[in-house]
Amino acid sequence: MLNVGAARSAPAYRDGRACCKLLPVNDVRPAQVAPRKAYRHRLPTRLWHWANAVTVFVMIGSGLMISNAHPHLYWGVYGANLDTSWFNPPTFPGWLTIPSSYNLALARRWHLLFALVLAFNLLWFMIASLVNRHFARDLRVRAAELKPAALGRDVREHLRFRFHDAAHPERFNLAQKIAYCVALFVLLPLMIATGLSLSPGWNAGAPWLLDLFGGRQSARSIHFIACWAVVAFVVVHLVAVILAGWRQEIGAMLTGWLRVPEGEGH
């Protein structure tokens, strides 16, 4: 359908709109030589993103130190040294942990303070994103995106490391939407809920949460597994940022404006 050369000069895009839409004369700004810019990230998204980036970093580092305190995972309501563990995580080295030398007390102080930041930062961001329609406009998967032809095009574009819809560079592609939705609506809430299940105070306040995960040691195991899913998300996210052009991507998350790289959309 498309060869690479054609894709470079006049690609067809996933919303199926005609290529003529891509002609520079249709751009918002008439200046044809200036690089195109698209407003991609609103202020609440940018504030949440950077606060969350720092928070997730601290949570993983301090969490690995907490794991070092008792590197055995169990299923069920109880579990201690004399019980059968299903997995014994390795001792994480000092260059991966917060603090860098063994200190459970300080790791907990980092972890439990930033847990509050994680949860309340996510809470206000979710409210803001419902109000400003960020979720509805930018993360909602449209039926057209799920048509086989659109899916195939999305996969091919990804294989070429082309992540932006040149007609609408501010839009997220399908894989992005799915990844962000899983992180926002599944992984981070799961981290928070399993984390709360480890609190004896919250076990009294919300015993149903403990039952939901099948007991405290199960909740602890799920907390650990979900943490690695967050790590996987972060790795894929950072690789995608680099492949998509880290200057433009980080610039967009700082200023809101995505400068569309030359050769995309022209």
Partner: protein
């Protein structure tokens, strides 16, 4: 730190490592450290505000109990005084209740055993991450405190223990909400048997909505106080004083 180690650390420090070691510097910086330490009071305040103050910790069925309830921390105070008490079955042991109370009292083990008891199968969560479930039985701490008559100026209850770590006496403290909580007991029995020395004989605190290090063993005295200042190093417990664990261990 040696130059070689510094260089190795610098090499490892590329990328995330640099940021991680920055966290070490942050926690050594006084004002930042105070922010870090504020999480303790925030968690305490949030839980007191959001959770019913009488909400019960989960209780379990007999078939959910740990096959073996491991010991932790000191397994024996190993002092001559404690050894002498243990040698004749704690017949000479007395639990003293004092501080800001109307009537300072002393209870013998037989007196405590003759009081109304609460029996509960609850989960013990170590700060390190493991959990064990056992059946505890003993009089409510609140009943003992009511007999002594806690004065209105009291804010905390301190537990003085027979054991020491590195020469420092073990002690713990809780607020009055946890002290009068319906599951907070002075446990005399574990799994139907009198508390053994490894688990804190003759009595240990069970404060079921907090972590294991709050469950003081070998309790000798209970003191109602207006402030934690002046006790130990002033942070409310041995681990709080010496290792910087949070005073509020509900999380």
């Amino acid at each position: 730190m040696s130059a070689v180690l510094t260089r190795r650390r610098a090499l490892l420090g590329i990328g995330a490592g640099t940021l991680l070691s920055a966290c070490d510097r942050v926690q050594d910086f006084g004002p930042a450290r105070r922010i870090l330490d504020s999480g303790d009071a925030i968690s305490h305040g949030l839980q007191r505000a959001l959770i019913d103050r009488a909400a019960l910790a989960p209780e379990y069925r007999v078939d959910q109990m740990s096959p073996v309830f491991r010991t932790n921390g000191n397994a024996n105070p190993n002092t001559p005084a404690y050894g002498a008490l243990a040698a004749n079955g704690f017949a000479d042991w007395r639990l003293a209740i004092g501080g800001l109370v109307a009537r300072p009292l002393q209870f013998s083990l037989a007196q405590l055993r003759s009081m109304p008891q609460r029996r509960q199968i609850t989960r013990h969560d170590c700060v390190e991450g493991w959990s064990a479930i056992g059946q505890w039985q003993g009089p409510l701490l609140g009943s003992l405190l009511k007999l002594a008559g806690v004065q209105s100026a009291a804010r905390y209850v301190v537990f003085h223990c027979a054991d020491q770590i590195g020469g420092a006496p073990y002690y713990e403290s809780i607020d009055l909400i946890d002290a009068f909580h319906p599951q907070t007991i002075m446990a005399l029995f574990l799994n139907g048997r009198p508390l053994d020395i490894g688990h804190g004989a003759p009595t240990r605190l069970r404060v079921e909505r907090q972590l294991g290090y709050k469950q003081a063993k070998y309790v000798m005295g209970i003191e109602a106080v207006p402030s934690l200042a002046g006790i130990g190093k002033g942070k409310g417990g041995f681990w709080e004083d010496n290792v910087d664990y949070d005073w509020y261990a509900g999380i």
